[in-house]
Symmetry: C2
Subunit: 291 residues, 2 copies
């Protein structure tokens, strides 16, 4: 973990472009031809981000959806994607899911590369978007006094994964076929002071937004909508893959899309996130840290 | 092989954007903000595209250079890159080579993703460029009667790899640190009728250009400059990784950069490439077919 963080810090050291915020979960935003080009790249490895047993069509869908969600958080519309594809167990199924996802998100496949990877399948997807509103929202713009909002419930992907694992027959679509909120992101972009997608867990991603904005969020856990039984609330707040949008608005402003107010931004305090009055530390498990 | 080609054909079936020529070695070219955005993605796997024993700094260099060469063939200037990085044997060395290459090509790192890939290292790089001249050169524009040109010798990477393998101490830089010809590509773009980089072998890449342009090239093997002993000429014409630019000009036109005239374009004949009067068939080994 230390090595990994050191590597990312070193990468940040050579990411000298002013728009180069695109390491890990965030997008890069650069000026191109008088418009704002939004770029993001996600990689997924067999055995880490997906299992060999999973339906490759679902893997393809999630690869596309997670990138589209990055664009959604910038209020961007998709221009297209580039695919880095290592041949796997069932390429036809992957292709079927890819086609379905790209049609769903209206994101044409622009190009890419296919390779043999003897050690296990690794997938990469670069999504290219066009910002529909400028300045392009970032994680860093939240102001003290702002309200913190989320577009919908967390925990649905957690319940879906558990249904899949248990074979209970309960609906697993929220885990297998997550929805990126492109339309909501575009509607929100002109209004928000900060925005990001919740991919790694609400508390972890809120921590990241708080750090980027140099303030703290006081979050009321009971106000967070969950798509899970009440006794799983604590887990739902820490689970990823729901791809809701987390954003801030000036106090009292009314969101243009259905949303839930879950907290407020305060001067930087004892921790980036204060949950029900208790400061969360880095020792608390806040979400999914990418391996 | 059949499966792989079928997969790529199927991908082409969903690459519906008019600029979506970017599968495998070519770039995608799309309109964005009144300019031409040039996009390419290359993936490389340990044990296929590089060896575990190789210096990771050289691996990083080649990953960058091969993408920059794709931009060069479009007469594009680099805007930046996105990296998909699976942690490997010596991440610090990779980082050193990456930094060196990005500085050399003036291509900032805009973002990317880092992952653990238990089965072996897989790397992906997306390069973003801006076309300096429009229409952007493609492989498809060669006309009957055009001259076929190459910017420099082939075979240098082959000799470099052999030096590295034999431990002879001979210079292996051409293999380890290939040079993408960005300045030459930009100088050529306003003049060429077709252009591509030679990444997989001169005869194979000339075949691809001939097919894309729906004609045949008559190539005079003795006119092809080689950076190898004369008795290796046949190998040098089939070896990849030299990243010279291959292009066509109207008959008699004088190239703006040092180049060698190696053939002429004729009406589509018995084969896409006729070498010293002999039609080359797909059964002949023409170059490196990606695995």
């Amino acid at each position: 973990m230390t090595t990994e963080l050191a590597f990312i810090d070193a990468l940040r050291g050579i990411a000298t472009h002013p728009g180069a915020r695109g390491l890990d979960d965030d997008c890069a935003v650069i000026e191109f031809g008088g418009e704002a080009l939004v770029l993001t790249h996600d990689a997924m490895a067999e055995g880490v981000h997906f299992l060999r047993e999973q339906d490759p069509a679902d893997v393809a869908w999630k690869l596309v959806a997670s990138n589209m969600s990055d664009l959604a958080a910038k209020g961007a519309e998709p221009v297209g994607v580039l695919l880095g594809y290592a041949f796997g167990r069932d390429d036809a199924r992957f292709l079927a899911g890819l086609r379905e996802a790209l049609e769903h998100y209206n994101a044409p496949l622009l190009g890419g590369d296919t390779i043999a990877a003897p050690g296990g399948q690794v997938l990469g997807l670069t999504a290219i978007g066009r910002a529909t509103f400028r300045p392009v929202p970032s994680r860093a713009g939240a102001c003290i006094g702002d309200d913190l909002w989320i577009t919908g419930p967390v925990g649905a992907a957690m319940m879906g994964l558990e249904a899949l694992r248990s074979g209970s027959g309960d609906d697993s679509a929220a885990y297998r076929r997550p929805q990126a909120l492109l339309a909501q992101g575009q509607a929100l972009a002109p209004h928000v002071t900060a925005m990001m997608d919740v991919s790694d867990g609400l508390l972890l991603d809120a921590t990241r937004m708080a750090r980027a904005s140099a303030l703290s969020f006081a979050i009321d856990s009971a106000a967070v909508p969950i798509a899970a039984p009440e006794d799983r609330r604590a887990d739902a707040l820490r689970w990823g893959d729901d791809y809701q949008l987390l954003y801030t608005l000036p106090a009292g402003a009314v969101p243009p899309v259905p949303s839930h107010r879950i907290g407020t931004a305060r001067a930087s305090g004892s921790a980036p996130v204060i949950l029900d009055g208790i400061a969360l530390t880095d020792q608390d498990r806040l979400g999914y840290q990418h391996g």
